[in-house]
C-alpha cells in the first residue's frame, strides 16, 4: 500500500484517561514484552522503532523485548489484536495490556503510556 505521509502537528488530547491513582509499574518488577505494529518500513515505523528503542535502553535495559509486527506481512494480526491506527505499541507484559499509538516522538507520553511514569510527573512540553 502506498501511504502518503504528511507532517501534522500532533496535539495533545485533552481527555487523557490515565488514572492518576494507578500505581506505576516499577521497571524492575518483571519482563517487558512490547509489540510494535507497523505497516512496512514507513518513516513513521522507523521513527517509532527508534524512539522506542531509546526509551527501552534507558529505562528497561536487558529486561525488554520488542516484537515488530509488519501488518503488510501479517494482516491477520491486525484483526486479532484490533489494530486500527499505526504505529501502535502494545505493552503485552506486564499486564494489563496498554496501547500507545503514534510514532512515539513524545517521550513523556510514551513513559506514561507504558506506565513508567505517572501523569502527575509529566513535564509540560
Amino acid at each position: 500500500m502506498n501511504i502518503e505521509h504528511e507532517k501534522l502537528k500532533t496535539r495533545r488530547s485533552k481527555a487523557l484517561l490515565v488514572k492518576e491513582n494507578e500505581p506505576s509499574v516499577k521497571a524492575g518488577d518483571s519482563r517487558w514484552d512490547l509489540n510494535l505494529y507497523v505497516v512496512g518500513e514507513s518513516p513513521k515505523a522507523v521513527t517509532a522503532f527508534n524512539n522506542l528503542k531509546i526509551i527501552c535502553e534507558e529505562q528497561l535495559k536487558d529486561k525488554y523485548q520488542i516484537n515488530v509486527i509488519d501488518l503488510l506481512k501479517n494482516p491477520q494480526s491486525a484483526h486479532d489484536n484490533q489494530i486500527v491506527a499505526v504505529p501502535t505499541l502494545v505493552r503485552k507484559l506486564p499486564l494489563p495490556e496498554r496501547n500507545i499509538i503514534g510514532d512515539l516522538s513524545n517521550r513523556e507520553r510514551v513513559l506514561v503510556g507504558l506506565g513508567l511514569k505517572e501523569l502527575g510527573e509529566l513535564t509540560v512540553a
Binding site: 500500500m1 514507513s42 500507545i100 503514534g102 516522538s105 507520553r109 510514551v110
Partner: protein
C-alpha cells in the same frame, strides 16, 4: 422493474442495484457503483439495516460479496440483529459471501504519542476485501473513531484518504453516520463522501411513527427528490416511490364481469376493464360492500385471487353479512383465493398502511384488490395525504394490472359527487349508489357516473338486495317521473290494469264488428232466396201467359179457317209478325 433504466442520460453512471424495494426506482438503478455513499440519520432510523440489506442483496442476488466493517456491534450482535429480517448471516459468512469485521478501540487503554495514521484500518479492510473478493463494503458508523481516537485532524485526513482509496479500488461503499445538529452528520463526513448522500428520518406524527428517506444528493445522476416513506419489517427495507412512476402503465383491453349481469350490460355488456380502478360511492347502507362482494364472488369463480382490505368490519362479519344476501365467500377463503385483511385505519400511519398493502399485494399476487372503504382513512384534515396515498396505491396496482375496487362512504349532506371529487381523476369506472326517496320510502338507485373507455348506460337502475344477491331492476320512467320501490310497483299495476281494460275494449269492438258482418251476410242470403223465389214465380206466369197466347192464336186461326173469311191474311200477318220479331 428492478432493472428499470435511468432516465435517458447518454453516459449513465454505472449503478449498483440495492434491490431494496423502491429505492432502485428513485435512484434510477441503485447506488453509484464503485463509489462511496453516505447514509445519515438519527439514532434508530435504520442505517445499519439499510447497509446490511444492501450487502446481503448484493451477495445473494448479484453475486457481489460484501464486507461489513462494524464499529459498534460485534459480529455476533450483528448476526442476531439482522436475523429478524430473515438474513442468515452465518450461512453467508460460511459461503464467503459476507465478511463481518468488528473494529473495536478501547479508549481507556490508549495513549497517543506523536503522529499516527489509519493504515491498520486500511489493512484490515483490504484483507477483508481480499478474502472474499468483495465488491461492496459497509462502514457502519465510522465516526465512532472520532470519540475513540485522539487528534481529529489526523482522523479527517485519514478518512479522506480512506474514501479516495476505496474509490480507487472500485468497491461500492456505504458509510453510515449519525445525524448532527444543523448538519447532515456530526463529524461532517458529507464533505468527504460527496457522490451520493441519503438521509433517513424517523419521526412521529399524530402518534404514528413515520420513516422517510430522501436523497440529498446524487452526483452525476438524476434522482427522485421527494421524501419517500419507507418501512422496516420482517422482509427488510422497503421504500415507497410510487409517485415517481408516472403514467406509463399498459392498459388492458380485457374485460371482467362485475358479477351482476345487469351491471355488465350497463357497462357496454362486458363489465370493468382489467387493471382499471373502480369506485363505488354512496351513503351509508346503500350496498357498496355488497357490490364488492358480488364482484369478489364472480372473480373467485373464475379462479382469480382477490385481496380484500376492510377497514370497518372484521372479515367474519363481512362473510356473515354477505351470506344474508346469498353470497357465500367462505369457500373462497378456504380455497385460498380470497384473503381478507381487516385493520383499523388508526392502527398505523398512512404510509404503513400503504406499504403493508403493497407488500401484501406483492406476496399474494391478487388480480383484484378491494379497499372497503377508502375514506375510513380520512381523519380530520388529512384529506390531501389520503389522496396522495391513494394515487400511489392506484399507480402501483395499475403497474401490476391489478383491478382496484374501492368503496367510498359519502355523507348524506354533501352532494354525492363532490365528496369524492378529489380522487375522481384516479377512477376509471365510478358507480354511484344513491337513495331515492319517493312516496315515503327509501330505495336504492344505481347508476354509472363515469366509465372511461366504454359506452356505458346513462340509466338509473333500481338496486335491490335480495336473498339471492343483488338485483338490478328498471326504474319506472313515465309521465309520473322516476319511480322506484312500491311506488314503481303500484304504478306498474296501475299501468297493467289500464292496459287490460283497453285490451278488453278492443276485443269487444272487434266482436261487435264480427257480429255485424255475420248479420249482413245472413240478410244477403235471405234476400237472395226471396229474389229467387220471386224470379221462379215470374217465369211460371210468363210461361202460362205465353201458352195462353199461343192457344188464343191457334183458336183464332181455327176460327177463321172455319169461317173461311178473308181476315185470315191479317191474322197470319200478325202471327208471322210475331214470329219474325223473335
Amino acid at each position: 422493474m428492478k432493472k428499470k433504466e435511468a432516465p435517458s442520460h447518454r453516459n449513465v453512471l454505472p449503478k449498483s442495484p440495492t434491490s431494496i424495494q423502491g429505492l432502485d426506482e428513485i435512484t434510477g438503478g441503485g447506488l453509484p457503483k464503485g463509489r462511496p455513499t453516505l447514509i445519515c440519520g438519527g439514532a434508530g432510523c435504520g442505517k445499519t439495516l439499510f447497509a446490511m440489506e444492501f450487502l446481503v442483496r448484493g451477495a445473494t442476488l448479484y453475486n457481489e460479496p460484501g464486507v461489513f466493517i462494524s464499529f459498534e456491534e460485534t459480529e455476533k450482535e450483528l448476526t442476531a440483529n439482522v436475523a429478524s429480517l430473515g438474513f442468515d448471516l452465518d450461512k453467508l459468512v460460511k459461503r464467503k459471501k459476507i465478511w463481518l469485521e468488528h473494529i473495536h478501540i478501547e479508549r481507556n487503554e490508549l495513549e497517543q504519542s506523536g503522529e499516527y495514521d489509519l493504515e491498520g484500518l486500511f489493512i484490515r479492510i483490504h484483507s477483508a476485501i481480499e478474502k472474499i473478493d468483495a465488491k461492496r463494503v459497509v462502514l457502519d458508523t465510522m465516526e465512532i473513531l472520532f470519540s475513540e481516537l485522539p487528534n481529529p485532524q489526523i482522523l479527517r485526513k485519514e478518512l479522506h484518504r480512506l474514501f479516495q482509496w476505496l474509490k480507487k479500488r472500485g468497491v461500492t461503499t456505504i458509510v453510515t453516520a449519525e445525524r448532527g445538529e444543523g448538519a447532515l452528520t456530526r463529524e461532517g463526513l458529507e464533505e468527504y463522501v460527496s457522490d451520493c448522500v441519503i438521509l433517513l428520518d424517523h419521526r412521529v406524527i399524530d402518534q404514528s411513527s413515520i420513516r422517510r428517506l430522501r436523497i440529498v444528493k446524487y452526483r452525476g445522476s438524476s434522482h427522485g427528490t421527494n421524501e419517500y416513506p419507507f418501512l422496516i419489517d420482517e422482509d427488510g427495507f422497503s421504500v415507497l416511490p410510487v409517485t415517481s412512476l408516472g403514467l406509463n402503465h399498459i392498459s388492458s383491453p380485457e374485460r371482467i364481469s362485475t358479477g351482476l349481469p345487469r351491471l355488465d350490460t350497463m357497462l357496454s355488456g362486458k363489465g370493468y376493464f382489467r387493471g382499471s380502478t373502480v369506485l363505488v360511492s354512496g351513503t351509508a347502507g346503500t350496498g357498496k360492500t355488497s357490490i364488492a362482494a358480488q364482484f369478489v364472488e364472480a372473480a373467485c369463480k373464475r379462479g382469480e385471487r382477490v385481496l380484500f382490505f376492510t377497514f370497518e368490519e372484521s372479515s367474519n362479519q363481512i362473510v356473515r353479512n354477505m351470506r344474508s344476501i346469498g353470497i357465500d365467500l367462505e369457500p373462497w377463503v378456504n380455497k385460498g383465493l380470497l384473503q381478507f385483511h381487516a385493520t383499523r385505519p388508526t392502527l398505523y400511519g398512512l404510509e404503513t398502511h400503504l406499504s403493508t398493502s403493497i407488500k401484501l399485494v406483492n406476496k399474494f399476487r391478487p388480480s383484484i384488490v378491494i379497499l372497503d372503504p377508502i375514506n375510513a382513512f380520512v381523519l380530520g384534515e388529512n384529506q390531501t395525504e389520503v389522496n396522495i396515498m391513494l394515487v400511489r396505491l392506484v399507480d402501483f396496482l395499475k403497474m401490476r394490472r391489478v383491478t382496484a375496487f374501492f368503496t367510498s362512504l359519502t355523507s348524506g349532506n354533501d352532494t354525492m359527487e363532490s365528496t369524492d371529487v378529489y380522487i375522481s381523476s384516479l377512477i376509471d369506472t365510478w358507480l354511484l349508489v344513491r337513495d331515492l326517496e319517493i312516496g315515503g320510502e327509501r330505495n336504492r338507485g344505481l347508476y354509472v357516473l363515469k366509465s372511461r373507455g366504454m359506452a356505458h348506460s346513462n340509466q338509473i337502475r333500481e338496486f335491490r338486495l335480495t336473498n339471492n344477491g343483488i338485483e338490478l331492476l328498471d326504474v319506472y320512467v313515465g309521465s309520473e317521473g322516476v319511480l322506484t320501490g312500491s311506488a314503481r310497483l303500484s304504478q306498474e299495476t296501475k299501468d297493467e290494469a289500464e292496459q287490460l281494460l283497453r285490451q278488453q275494449e278492443i276485443g269487444s269492438k272487434q266482436f261487435k264488428l264480427e257480429r255485424k258482418r255475420d248479420a249482413l251476410a245472413a240478410q244477403i242470403v235471405v234476400l237472395r232466396s226471396e229474389f229467387e223465389a220471386e224470379a221462379s214465380d215470374a217465369l211460371k206466369v210468363i210461361g202460362i201467359e205465353k201458352a195462353i197466347n199461343e192457344r188464343f192464336t191457334l183458336d183464332k186461326i181455327k176460327m177463321s179457317k172455319s169461317r173461311r173469311g178473308d181476315a185470315s191474311t191479317k191474322i197470319s200477318y200478325a202471327s208471322n209478325g210475331n214470329g219474325r220479331k223473335k
